[in-house]
């Protein structure tokens, strides 16, 4: 849940790289930052968050190519030399070697002096880049922490709606800073306060990002109670992006699974899978969700599909889970125990260990069910041997419970010490309609969620409008022509008047 997932979170932001962005790839990082700055300015000027989103999508890619010189150059080129923001930004970077900075100053100054100060969004964006850069080396963590706080304060005082998208990313960087510094718990008060503010300002992007931050921090410390309360007291903004939704559903799934609400957990995890970016771009998240889903499915009494374990991204990561599934399917307690102890460390790291331990009773139930299907009468002694139970007495209680819970249909004849299995139920009755109803509900839900998850490009309808406009124009012309043609026709006007 630590490293893999963080990586996945980064990668998630990379999703849906559009065609447009593939073109500027050969640009140098400095040029790319400059282009991004221009885009942000445009976004602010035209109130179009679309441009900002485009800038942020390239963030992960850009992040890997940053270094001190690149950032310094970018800052120098963006700001006028005497601007206070520039000095503030540069102070976060180590001093450049003298000649280098002289060089740059000399070249960039003349062209930039006349330019007006860039919008504050640009500054925050540059701060975000610096923050990510500082986090790449351990020595800079204290500095990164200071910068993070400074940036948060700045964002909150500026309070600009056009900054929301960038702010959401800054919060992610803040979380990362705290986590790398090793005290994620200390960040919680900041997140909670900021979440309140974001909710009040209807800042959906930031709020979604922050709710996920807080949930993650709670789950990291196993505070399921608090996490559950947070979920029940907040409403996740529906306008948030798909990646945020995917994470939110994943966290919900984990909370619900711990509370034994497996059906709800399963629904949430399905949502998380559906909304997550493709397996190849975010393998970490994909694996984490699937691990949990498999355990929850098993707990619900279902067996996950075999094809899942052959998925190229999942095959290796799920090997331990595959063994567990096999054990549950066979209803063999000894196999189950062996697998559990063999992969204990792995399950522990995935935080699924306690959930898997709960599977024990499912293993027994499956075992009894298999026996009841293959025998019409079986002695309790044999059940005991076949399921590796400790005593006949136990077997009797366990079978009794299975009958009461409706797992099998049968009777125990105590005097003779055997179990008589009832005949199979006919495949008709109200319970069948219940099963159907459940499946239909699932399909409908799937459809509705897919519709909700669809994204429409902004302003696409304008094109249609323009097309409609054109069509109307043509129609008018046509009507005109007809009219004119009608003039030529002798009978036309007469007819008109006759009506």
């Amino acid at each position: 849940m630590t490293d893999v997932e963080m990586k996945s979170a980064d990668e998630k932001r990379e999703d849906k790289t559009t065609e447009e962005e593939k073109k500027p790839v050969p640009l140098t990082p400095v040029a790319e930052i400059k282009a991004n700055v221009a885009l942000i300015e445009r976004a602010v000027a035209t109130f179009e968050p679309r441009f900002t989103h485009r800038v942020l999508r390239s963030l992960t890619h850009l992040r890997r190519r940053l270094d001190d010189t690149v950032l310094r150059d970018a800052i120098n080129e963006t700001y006028a030399s005497d601007s206070p923001s520039k000095k503030a930004l540069l102070s976060w970077l180590p001093e450049a070697t003298a000649e280098q900075s002289m060089d740059i100053d000399a070249t960039s100054q003349p062209s930039k002096q006349s330019q007006p100060e860039p919008v504050p969004e640009v500054e925050i964006y540059l701060r975000l880049l610096i923050l990510h850069h500082l986090l790449t080396s351990q020595a800079n963590y204290p500095k990164a922490m200071k910068l993070a706080h400074d940036t948060i304060d700045k964002m909150q005082t500026l309070n600009r709606r056009s900054m929301d998208a960038i702010a959401a990313k800054v919060w992610y960087a803040v979380e990362r800073t705290y986590e790398l510094a090793g005290d994620l718990a200390d960040a919680r008060p900041h997140f909670l306060a900021a979440q309140r503010t974001a909710a009040l300002r209807h800042d959906d992007e930031t709020e979604a990002s922050l709710i996920n931050r807080i949930l993650r921090s709670y789950l990291q410390y196993n505070l399921y109670d608090q996490a559950d309360k947070l979920v029940s007291k907040t409403s996740f903004p529906t306008a948030a992006g798909n990646p945020q939704h995917a994470r939110y559903h994943y966290y919900l799934g984990r909370i619900k699974a711990v509370q034994l609400n497996y059906t709800a957990a399963h629904t949430n995890l399905q949502q998380a899978i559906r909304r997550a970016p493709p397996a190849k771009t975010a393998p970490g998240f994909y694996q984490a969700v699937h691990k949990l889903t498999i355990v929850v499915e098993l707990l619900m009494g279902d067996i996950p599909e075999r094809s899942l374990f052959r998925h190229p991204v999942l095959e290796k990561a799920l090997s331990g889970y595959f063994e567990i599934v096999k054990a549950v399917r066979n209803g063999s307690l000894s196999q189950f125990q062996n697998t559990l102890s063999k992969y204990a460390a792995e399950f522990e790291a995935d935080k699924t260990y306690t959930l898997i331990v709960r599977l024990r009773q499912n293993v027994i139930k499956t075992g009894i069910r298999r026996l009841s299907l293959s025998y019409s009468r079986i002695s309790l002694r044999d059940i005991c041997v076949k399921l590796h139970l400790d005593s006949e007495e136990d077997a009797e209680y366990i079978v009794g419970k299975a009958i009461r819970d409706g797992v099998i249909d049968g009777r125990i004849v105590h005097e003779k010490g055997w179990m008589e299995c009832g005949s199979q139920k006919g495949g008709y009755g109200p319970e069948v309609s219940d099963v159907f109803a459940r499946r239909i509900a699932y399909c409908l839900e799937l459809h509705n969620q897919s519709v909700k998850a669809m994204r429409y490009p902004l302003n696409a309808h304008r094109k249609e409008l323009a097309a409609a406009e054109g069509a109307r124009e043509r129609e008018k012309e046509l009507a005109k022509e007809i009219q004119e043609g009608g003039d030529l026709d002798d009978e036309g006007p007469d007819l008109g008047e006759g009506f």
Binding site: Y224, D228, T354, Q361, V399, G400, K401, I403, G410, H447
Partner: protein
């Protein structure tokens, strides 16, 4: 520093508690709680000294044990939730308490007897232990095993575990657990048997003699055939399966609405 009066009372409490005088302990606890509130330690505020916090924690721990000995579960609940602050938030400041895990285990069993399984698991997850270390801690392993046996139906193991309780206080809960188990077993028997000899019913339900079984059978409304020495479970008459009209209609209307949205 804590007021000297508080320290004095605290010493007294320790003495009285070890001597096992429940009534006196109760009186002292009430006075101590007032003293703690005055010293601002009951719900710690600000930055109290670690030494004072240890005293406050000890007092609350004694209170929790005392509540169980006097069989006052709501009071245990209150003491335990106050202790949570000391166990979770001050864990880095305070030396670990030897009574922490016994109390946490007791809390788990309490949740189990009240059949709050979801809370049980949430609490279990939030324990500051590694998951595979849970079974290594006798105080925690006990409730975990109980839960597992209850869920899979190994009732006899639960019965036998009565004697293995890691602390005296656990027995109080285990006894109340037995009542729950008997009812569980009884409901299983109703479903799984046609008839059952009285003698065997007694062993299955962990009764010592037949008269107890008969009393229990009457309570649950079982038919007892004394001449044959058997309990006959009334077969549930095959209920006529009724088609749940209303439910079906509602479902159909729902489908129609959804379909309309799709088309």
């Amino acid at each position: 520093m804590a007021p000297s009066q508080l320290v004095q009372l605290y010493r007294e409490l320790q003495q009285v508690f070890t001597s096992g005088n429940l009534q006196q302990t109760g009186v002292l606890l009430t006075r101590l709680k007032i003293a703690l509130t005055e010293a601002g330690l009951l719900v710690p505020l600000g930055n109290p000294e670690a030494q004072d916090l240890v005293i406050a924690r000890d007092i609350l721990e004694v209170g929790a044990f005392w509540s169980i000995r006097t069989k006052d579960i709501p009071s245990f609940d209150r003491y335990f939730s106050q202790l949570q602050t000391f166990y979770n938030d001050y864990s880095s400041v305070l030396p670990p308490s030897p009574r922490e895990y016994p109390l946490r285990g007791l809390n788990l069993i309490r949740l189990l007897t009240q059949n709050r399984i979801a809370d049980f698991h949430t609490t279990l997850e939030s324990l500051p232990l590694r998951a595979d270390a849970l079974t290594g801690n006798p105080y925690i392993a006990h409730p975990i095993n109980l839960e597992q046996w209850l869920m899979e139906g190994s009732y006899s193991k639960v019965w036998n575990a009565r004697e293995e309780a890691p602390a005296e206080e656990y027995k109080f809960f285990v006894d109340s657990l037995m009542g729950t188990i008997r009812n569980e077993i009884a409901s299983c028997e109703e479903a799984a048997y046609d008839s059952l000899p009285l003698k065997d019913a007694a062993t299955l339900l962990f009764f010592k003699n037949q008269s107890e079984v008969i009393a229990f059978a009457q309570e649950r409304g079982w038919q007892v055939d004394l001449t044959a020495g058997k309990i006959i479970f009334a077969k549930k008459t095959e209920e006529k399966i009724e088609i749940p009209k209303e439910k079906l209609i509602l479902a159909d209307l729902h489908y129609a609405r959804e379909l309309e949205q799709i088309v």
